[in-house]
Structures are given as structure tokens and as C-alpha cells.
């Protein structure tokens, strides 16, 4: 009897062991990506305590968050009409339960809920983002700003935070792009949100203004203007801090300064000036000190772009007989050619992660946008079209680029994912929109 029981137990153990054959005994199933590229997100209308602001403020806030999330290409918003859970946030109090299955069952991988509170002079915004599949809170954060301030930038910032919580790379919907627009009849510097909304003029001097370039802090834009004596000089436009006006006024007295580009790491510029009838690249502090000539020859050296650590500069030179991209150290040493394909490569832009240099390559008479790595071993097209695509600039997260294109006839600014997906036209006014410069993350 006892023996029988012992055998039975042994048999059970053996069977249990067999049924729990370890994963190491079986081949692994290899999964590669399918078509799904974006997460479904349900954005609730934030609970708003202000009766006077009413539903309008909460609706506008939700709309901006949705736009910011969709701009990232990481999320697609689910229509609030499809919600099984509440369309408006009930409360963010701990203990307040979210029924994750209400959201996952409608295809929402993420849920965003929040509150808007008016605290006499401050608007206090608090929000939470959920991973509904695992039913975990990914992010909870609070922002405050003056009550009268525009809510749109704050809502987009929240959208960008949520993108970071899901993929580890911050969204760029709260950033801005400066560009040159001839809308008024003159090339003036304009600024717009990264999705093309809220375009407005930053200069109105009816001269020629070009080559906008953001300071690393985002407080000012450097640009070239011909407003004085028809000579190209550098100016800054600011958000209020700092003084707008001419910079490096001692430089370029003879022939002018054609272009200035902020170093990513400090108050240093790479500038293009004329020496002996040839354009050359210099580095100089913003206060005009430490001027150093980096290129020195009888050909044209222009269009500098800094590596993210400011240790190197890519630029355009026609020293080989045609415009090509070159690299050099920030002190001018070790100059060498990077592009060898085609007879006209220009407008380099170094990516924020340092891995790529985007540039315009002329092929069959028009320009396309290409990417080359700084070793020159990989060189691939990003945007090609029978019309010209030009002047690439990187989003600060390195996942999107803006450029100008004549594909509609006049030039417009477009934006595209680094993957080549989600082409979006940002400008729609008359006139030509060129020379985009993507600003940094807001502080």
C-alpha cells in the first residue's frame, strides 16, 4: 500500500517534470517587427476646476496634447467617442482606480489623465500616463505657469514627456523652427511651431534676411541680414532676454559676415567671412574675442555645421573643383573630404547624436536629401523627389528632419521622420519658405 503510493508520487513527479520542459529544451521563436508602428493612446479631457474657463480650456488642452502625441509618429489618438472609461479625468488621487481593460479593449495602449487647477495666479497642471497593457503608471508630473500664459506650449510639452516615457526619446512637438519666408515680399526670418502652427515673423526690416540659427538655449536666433549698407552682417533676435541687434560688430568690416552658426556647447560661433575674395570659415566667441581662422586657401569654404560635442566641423568646400562636404577638427586641423559621389553636395547638418550628417546632393539636376556617417562608410538617400529638396536641419531628438522643397512649385518647409516616413508639409503661405533651422528643446 505504502509502496503503491510511493510509486504514484514518483509518477506524478516525473509527469510534472515532463510537462514543465524548460525553455532551454525548445527552440526560441524569433519575432521581427510587423506593421504596427504606433501606440493607441486615449487622452482624457483633464478635469478643470475653473468654472470661468469651463470646458473650453480643457478641450483646447486635450486637443494640443493629442496633436503633440500624433506629431511624434509614436502615438495615434483614439476618438473620445469610443471610450468605455470616463472621457474626463475623475481624479488623480492615489487609490482612484483605473480600469485598464476599459482602455486596452478599445485599442488604447496608453491612457493620459490629468487635472487643470487655477491657483490664484498660477495654472497647475498635473497628469499621469498609464501603460494599460501592464496596467502600470509610467509617468506622473506637475507643471505650473502663469494663468494668462498660452496653454498650447505646455500641453505639447506634456505630449513630449509622454513620448519619452514610452520610447526613451523625447518628442519635439513643443519645439520651434525658424526659417526664411518671402511671404511679405522680402526674405524675412519667421518662426513656427514644429508642426507648422503659429507661424509669425521674427524680423520685419524689408531687407534680405537669411541663415537663421538657434542659440543652444533657444533664447535667440542668429541670422544674416543685409539691412545696413547692403553688407551681410550678423544679428540676433531674442525672446526678450538679452539684447536683439547686431553681433560681432568689429568683424566683417571689410566685406561682411555671411553666416554664423552657434556651437552646441557654448558661446562660440563658426562664421563665414571673405578673405582675399574667398569665403573662409572662422571660429569666434560671441563677444568677438578669440577669432581663429580655420580654413585658408583660395577657394570657397562655407556652410559650417558643428558636431554635437563641438570638437569637429563639417563644411562645404570647392577645393576639389566642385562643392563637396569636408570635415575638420574645431581648430581647423585634419581637413579631409567626406563626400565623393556626385558633383554638387552642400548644406551639411550634423545630427544631435553625432551619427549622421544630412546634406543636399544634386542628382539629375535637382537636390535630394542624403545621410552620410562621419566616417563616410554609409551614404544613403533620405528624401528624393523630381523637384529639389534642400537645406536639411535636425530636430533636437534626432528623429526628424525639416527641409525645404519646391515640390509644390514655390518652396515650402517639410518635415520627415528619420525612417523616411510621415512626410508633412509645414508651410502653406504664398512665397518661398527656405532655410529651416530647428530650435532646441524648450527649457
Amino acid at each position: 500500500m505504502r509502496r503503491t503510493r510511493w510509486f504514484a508520487q514518483l509518477a506524478l513527479l516525473v509527469l510534472a517534470g515532463a510537462s514543465r520542459a524548460g525553455a532551454q529544451d525548445r527552440p526560441a521563436v524569433v519575432i521581427d517587427p510587423g506593421q504596427a508602428r504606433s501606440y493607441g493612446v486615449a487622452v482624457q479631457r483633464f478635469a478643470d476646476d475653473s468654472a470661468s474657463a469651463g470646458a473650453r480650456r480643457a478641450d483646447a488642452f486635450r486637443e494640443q496634447i493629442v496633436r503633440g502625441l500624433e506629431y511624434s509618429s509614436v502615438f495615434r489618438s483614439i476618438d473620445a467617442k469610443a471610450f468605455l472609461g470616463p472621457a474626463t479625468t475623475v481624479s488623480l488621487d492615489e487609490g482612484e482606480s483605473v480600469v485598464c481593460s476599459d482602455w486596452s479593449s478599445i485599442g488604447a495602449d496608453a491612457l493620459v489623465e490629468g487635472t487643470l487647477r487655477t491657483d490664484p495666479s498660477q495654472l497647475v497642471v498635473e497628469f499621469r500616463a498609464w501603460d494599460t497593457t501592464r496596467c502600470t503608471k509610467l509617468l506622473r508630473k506637475r507643471y505650473t505657469q502663469p494663468v494668462q500664459a498660452d496653454i498650447a506650449p505646455l500641453a505639447r510639452r506634456i505630449a513630449d514627456d509622454i513620448v519619452a516615457a514610452f520610447i526613451g526619446v523625447r518628442g519635439v512637438s513643443a519645439t520651434e523652427i525658424a526659417f526664411v519666408s518671402t511671404r511679405s515680399g522680402h526674405p524675412e526670418i519667421s518662426v513656427m511651431n514644429a508642426d507648422g502652427s503659429n507661424a509669425r515673423a521674427a524680423t520685419a526690416n524689408r531687407s534680405i534676411n537669411t541663415f537663421p540659427n538657434w542659440s543652444p538655449s533657444g533664447e535667440s536666433i542668429l541670422y544674416t541680414s543685409y539691412r545696413f549698407a547692403n553688407r551681410p552682417l550678423l544679428f540676433v533676435s531674442t525672446r526678450g532676454r538679452g539684447k536683439p541687434g547686431r553681433v560681432l560688430s568689429r568683424l566683417g568690416d571689410r566685406s561682411g559676415v555671411y553666416r554664423g552658426v552657434f556651437a552646441p556647447t557654448g558661446p562660440k560661433l563658426a562664421v563665414v567671412m571673405s578673405e582675399s575674395e574667398a569665403a573662409e570659415i572662422f571660429s569666434v566667441s560671441l563677444d568677438g574675442k578669440d577669432l581663429k581662422r580655420l580654413t585658408n586657401n583660395r577657394v570657397i569654404d562655407v556652410s559650417p555645421t558643428w558636431s554635437p560635442d563641438a570638437s569637429r566641423i563639417a563644411f562645404v568646400s570647392d577645393r576639389s573643383g566642385s562643392p563637396q562636404i569636408y570635415l575638420m577638427n574645431a581648430d581647423g586641423s585634419d581637413q579631409r573630404r567626406l563626400t565623393f559621389q556626385g558633383s554638387y553636395n552642400s548644406d551639411p547638418a550634423w545630427s544631435p547624436d553625432g551619427r549622421w550628417i544630412a546634406y543636399q546632393a544634386r542628382l539629375e539636376g535637382q537636390f535630394d536629401i542624403w545621410l552620410i556617417d562621419p566616417t563616410g562608410s554609409t551614404n544613403v538617400p533620405l528624401v528624393s523627389h523630381p523637384r529639389s529638396d534642400e537645406a536639411p536641419t535636425w530636430a533636437p531628438n534626432g528623429r526628424k528632419l525639416a527641409f525645404s522643397s519646391t515640390r509644390r512649385g514655390s518652396a515650402d518647409i517639410y518635415v520627415i521622420d528619420l525612417s523616411g516616413d510621415n512626410l508633412l508639409r509645414l508651410t502653406e503661405n504664398a512665397g518661398n519658405n527656405t532655410n529651416p533651422s530647428w530650435g532646441p528643446f524648450p527649457r
Binding site: 510537462s19 524548460g22 525553455a23 529544451d25 525548445r26 527552440p27 526560441a28 524569433v30 519575432i31 521581427d32 517587427p33 506593421q35 504596427a36 508602428r37 504606433s38 509618429s73 495602449d109 497593457t133 520610447i167 526613451g168 522680402h186 526674405p187 518662426v191 515673423a201 521674427a202 524680423t203 520685419a204 526690416n205 534680405i208 543685409y226 539691412r227 549698407a229 547692403n230 553688407r231 551681410p232 525672446r239 526678450g240 541687434g245 561682411g256 571673405s274 575674395e277 570657397i300 562645404v316 570647392d318 566642385s322 562643392p323 552642400s346 544634386r362 539636376g365 535637382q366 528624401v383 528624393s384 534642400e390 525645404s404 519646391t406 515640390r407 518652396a411 525612417s419 516616413d421 512626410l423
Partner: protein, 203 residues
């Protein structure tokens, strides 16, 4: 929060000055087209500044209604097709070698036809539930997980990451996808099964 306003400078200036347009860099073969920004009365001609390289068509091109889709946006219907096949019970085409590199177990046992059939169904099912944002698709990311499946294919307990990719957000997405995919198609036998999620379409 910074206000989204850039100070507008109003600079008093001499009447619209004669200006010189930037010209293209010197010896570029075919002749560089006219710069697009500027119409210039002749007079003081400042030296050549930055080359502006925008060719301008002589006749204004027909405006296009919408920018055409970029080439990279083309869809790959292969997984949709195989999904339909599996739904109608059609015999799917032989598996792509890259996806079944694991023929035979690590211990050298042969793989059953049952396993191959299940593997195909499981892969299709998981792929539909795995969101891979563009930023991950060109990266050499690999995450290995082990899950315990019951006879019906439901995941028991938490998926276990046995090899991380180095990108925690990618790993999170992998775990999210396998949980979303539960229940999987019923496995050949209940127990622990391992999956390797490979982001880079080229590997």
C-alpha cells in the same frame, strides 16, 4: 514656460537697399541657377557669400495637391497575407530562413512539424500586437524572454526577460507586446517557451 513669442525687431533702415544675392560656389559644373531669395538691382556687388544652391525652374511647375508618399512608406503586405492564409487554413509558404534560424533545439533535438506550425501562428499573432516605433527599427536591438504558457496558450505569471537589449524602453515594449498577445495560439505542449524579439529588419 517660455512664451512662444519672438521679439519682432523693427529696424529703421535706408530704403530697400540694392542687394546682392548669394551666388553659387565658383567652379560648380553645370552653371548654378539663380538664387531664389533675391531680386537685385545692380550696384554694389558684395563678394560671393554662401552658395545658395536652389535651382529654380524657369516655368513655374504645376502645383501638386499633396506631396506624394515617400518611397519608404510602401507597405509590406507579407504578414497580412500569411495571416489570411493561416485564418483560412491554407498551407503557408515555407518560412523565411531568417525567422527560423532556430531549427532544432539547443540540445540538438529535432523540431516537430507541430512546433513549426505553432511557431508560425504564434509569430503572426505576436507581430500584430508588437508596436515597434520607427526609432527602434534601425537599431540592432534583441530581447529574449521566457513565458509560461498553459495548454490554451494563455500566459501564466510574468514574462521573464532572460537577455536585455540594452534599451529599457524597447524591453518594455517587448513585454507589453507578449502580454497583449495573450492568449497565444495553443502551444504543442504547455510549459515555458522562449521568444527573441529582433528590432532591426535587416538582421
Amino acid at each position: 514656460m517660455p512664451q512662444g513669442v519672438i521679439a519682432v525687431e523693427l529696424v529703421s533702415l535706408p530704403s530697400p537697399a540694392p542687394a546682392s544675392a548669394p551666388k553659387a560656389a565658383r567652379p560648380a559644373p553645370p552653371p548654378p541657377p539663380e538664387p531664389k531669395q533675391v531680386v537685385l538691382p545692380k550696384e554694389t556687388a558684395p563678394p560671393k557669400p554662401e552658395p545658395r544652391l536652389e535651382p529654380k525652374p524657369v516655368t513655374p511647375p504645376k502645383p501638386k495637391a499633396e506631396p506624394p508618399a515617400e518611397p519608404a512608406a510602401e507597405r509590406d503586405y507579407s504578414d497580412v497575407l500569411s495571416e489570411l492564409r493561416s485564418e483560412v487554413g491554407d498551407e503557408p509558404p515555407p518560412p523565411a530562413p531568417a525567422q527560423t534560424a532556430s531549427i532544432g533545439t539547443p540540445t540538438g533535438n529535432p523540431v516537430s512539424p507541430e512546433f513549426l506550425a505553432w511557431e508560425r501562428r504564434a509569430r503572426i499573432h505576436i507581430r500584430q500586437n508588437w508596436v515597434v516605433p520607427p526609432s527602434f527599427r534601425d537599431e540592432p536591438l534583441r530581447t529574449s524572454i521566457v513565458v509560461e504558457l498553459d495548454a490554451g496558450g494563455a500566459i501564466l505569471g510574468e514574462p521573464r526577460i532572460v537577455k536585455r537589449s540594452g534599451n529599457p524602453w524597447y524591453d518594455d515594449g517587448v513585454v507589453r507586446s507578449i502580454q497583449k498577445a495573450s492568449p497565444l495560439p495553443p502551444p504543442p505542449e504547455p510549459g515555458e517557451w522562449s521568444f527573441v524579439f529582433v528590432a532591426d529588419e535587416g538582421t
